[in-house]
């Protein structure tokens, strides 16, 4: 992968801004962390949604799985899990700082690895479905996971699961800073990984699957293998994001926080579409715009946010399906490395 000089300056600028952000806007630390998580989710949804053409509502499965796994490991490493969830939010057990960070580290690894394995296992059966059957099937998977985890006693069942509270390490700001830098680190990791993937042959294969799967198969590409790998990459980062989000929110509920297909599951799709499917920067821009818009709405129109969300989905999908990047591409094709023949363009306009 080669990085041009302009891009390098851009990346370093963003990196410096990212590191300085919690000190520049100390009041928005939690919001910035959530933004990082949202960008990770949108970017990884884009791998199979935008590049591969497999529009999934089910990535929420990996997100929720990661959330529950990270918290369970973090608690289960040191204390009996069943007693923890039974006591609800009572502070009968307290993590020392060392225990908390150790548990978080192991928990995040588990939260990333297990969803990846799950994606690999179910991938063969689920990814054989095409088009809307895949979309509805993954929607069903996400809701089923939420309903079933809401009935399992050891992870809190219907009453929810309180994640370990952040230990007392001196300063009050440390919780926000810890979670911000953790999520920013995962964001950087995701960006590097996705950019790396997009500059290889792998992306071309995914695009071939999106454009015509049967033809790609006829060209000798083992499409199923690549589809599963693509989904596993998504699952890996979704699990990580879920683990962080669990710690950040501090409370896990099966259908409202973890397997929240109605909110987070749609958000990922919407952010990627808003920014522009099938581009590297689209989901990032889309997630940022969406988060700002959403927070504005959530603050000023409290109570009407889901109404606004429903309207927003309909409007974006109907009037803006190509997204911000698609719109920019239409307006400035030269910037995207497309050669434009002025005569041809004029001729087409006249034809219309």
């Amino acid at each position: 992968m080669s990085i041009s000089k302009n891009n390098l300056i851009l990346y370093i600028g963003i990196l410096i801004f990212g590191i300085a952000a919690p000190f520049l806007f100390p009041a928005f630390k939690v919001q910035l962390s959530i933004l990082c998580v949202l960008i990770v989710l949108a970017t990884t949804w884009n791998i199979q949604g935008g590049e591969m053409g497999y529009n999934s509502f089910g990535n929420i499965l990996f997100y929720g799985l990661g959330m529950y796994l990270c918290a369970s490991v973090q608690v289960g490493m040191f204390f009996p899990l069943a007693e923890w969830t039974e006591s609800g939010g009572e502070k009968t057990f307290v993590h020392t700082p060392a225990q908390f960070f150790q548990g978080m580290a192991v928990g995040l690894v588990v939260a990333a690895v297990v969803p990846t394995i799950v994606a690999g296992l179910i991938g063969y059966s689920i990814l054989g479905l095409r088009g809307h059957y895949f979309a509805i099937c993954t929607l069903g998977l996400g809701v089923a996971a939420g309903e079933i985890s809401g009935g399992i006693e050891i992870i809190g069942a219907g009453q929810g699961f309180t994640t370990p509270p952040f230990p007392d390490v001196g300063s009050l700001d440390s919780r926000g800073e810890f979670f911000y830098f953790l999520s920013f680190f995962v964001l950087v990791l995701t960006f590097i990984a996705v950019r790396g993937i997009y500059s290889t042959r792998f992306r071309l294969i995914l695009n071939a699957i999106r454009d015509n799967e049967d033809k790609a198969e006829a060209m000798g590409i083992e499409t199923m293998k690549y589809k599963i790998v693509g989904w596993m990459i998504s699952a890996f980062f979704c699990g990580l994001a879920g683990g962080i989000m669990g710690g950040l929110v501090g409370y896990i509920d099966s259908t409202d926080v973890a397997f929240d297909g109605r909110e987070m599951g749609v958000f990922m799709v919407l952010m990627a579409i808003l920014g522009g499917k099938g581009t590297l920067w689209g989901p990032i821009i889309g997630a940022t715009v969406f988060h700002i818009f959403k927070e504005g709405f959530w603050t000023f129109f409290l109570g009407w946010q889901y109404v606004a969300l429903g309207v927003l989905i309909v409007v974006i999908v109907i009037y803006f399906p190509e997204g911000i990047m698609g719109w920019l591409r239409e307006k400035y094709p030269e910037r995207f490395g497309e050669l434009v023949d002025e005569k041809d363009r004029k001729a087409q306009v006249e034809l219309k």
Binding site: N55, S125, I126, G128, L129, G131, H132, Y133, A135, I136, C137, L139, G140, L141, V143, A144, G146, E147, I148, G150, G151, G158, R262, V266, V269, L270, I273, G303, W304, Y306, V307, L309, G310, V311, L312, I313, V314, V317, I318, P321
Partner: protein, 297 residues
């Protein structure tokens, strides 16, 4: 896990009868979905929310002292116009587009409806009491509420009327022609835009009937829509488009499955088992189709 259902045969009989009566209702909703899927090639995620909205119409009639059974007449009339309005505002812009776009757009409508109903009617679980009493069978070992029998009867009535209407009337013929080949129908002078609107309206009206019946027999809640969408989707893919006896049969099968899942796994896993069944059916279908592809090779 509770296997009491196998030790006492009467409980099985109860579950089967409950399931069949419930399944007839599901089949009615699924019929609407099959209609619009076949004609407009749209999968409407908001189907279940239309059902719940129909249920609230009957519930409000009950609150204002009118017998909720009249809801099966009033709800479809109101819902027909709601359906037309949704079509004019949103659906006609996504009809010819990618299926995923229509899924997402209707998902948005679903969230919107869910929340508006939550505002307007509150988040309580409600039911409209019909006061129909119960029927005892087999030495009062099996108890069937008369409202369930009433709802199954009304569902069958509406389905039969609709089938006859589709066969005989001019609009029905136009709808069937559009389903077969929209372009050819347009060339031969069918106003497909009008046909689409009517189809969506009829679908919404069917949802209204089903919702009114559900509010009499079971309970309704603003967030209960999605399971009904998934059930009708499942019934349609099991039966196939345009296979009406199949829709009725698989609807009843699903009803019985749900009642047994309720007894064996417990009520908290009921919705989960429905969604899991959907995934299993789709996966089974995928392997069956891939075997077919192998033969072709």
């Amino acid at each position: 896990m509770d296997f009491m259902v196998f030790q006492y045969p009467m409980i099985s009989v109860q579950a089967c009868l409950d399931g069949v009566l419930l399944g007839i209702l599901f089949a009615l909703i699924a019929y609407g979905m099959a209609l619009q899927w076949g004609v407009m090639n749209i999968i409407n995620i908001a189907q279940g929310d239309l059902v719940i909205l129909g249920g609230y119409i009957a519930y409000f009639m009950y609150l204002y002292g009118i017998h909720p059974a009249w809801g099966v007449i009033v709800a479809p009339v109101i819902m027909y116009f709601v359906g037309i309005a949704i079509y004019k505002l949103v659906i006609n812009k996504v009809v010819d587009r990618d299926l995923f776009i229509s899924i997402l757009a209707t998902f948005g409508i679903s969230i919107l409806f869910m929340q508006l109903m939550n505002f307007a009617f509150g988040a309580d679980v409600v039911l409209a009491n019909s006061g129909y009493g119960t029927t005892m069978l087999f030495d009062s070992n099996v108890v069937l509420p008369n409202s369930k029998i009433f709802s199954a009867f009304i569902s069958i009535l509406f389905a039969v009327c609709l089938v006859i209407y589709m066969k005989k009337s001019k609009l029905g013929r136009a709808i069937r022609a559009t389903a077969q080949n929209a372009r050819a129908a347009k060339i031969l002078g069918v106003d497909t835009e009008k046909v689409y609107a009517a189809t969506f309206g009829i679908n919404a009206a069917l949802c209204g009937v089903a919702g009114a019946l559900i509010s009499i027999t079971f309970t309704i809640h603003p967030y209960m829509g999605l399971p009904y969408t998934i059930r009708s989707f499942m019934i349609v893919i099991v039966a196939g488009l345009g296979n009406l006896p199949g829709v009725a049969m698989s609807g009843m099968g699903l009803g019985v499955f749900e009642e047994f899942a309720d007894y064996i796994l417990g009520t908290e896993f009921r919705i989960g088992s429905v969604f899991l069944l959907l995934v299993l059916i789709l996966v089974y279908r995928r392997f069956k189709l891939s075997r077919k592809r192998e033969y072709l090779k």
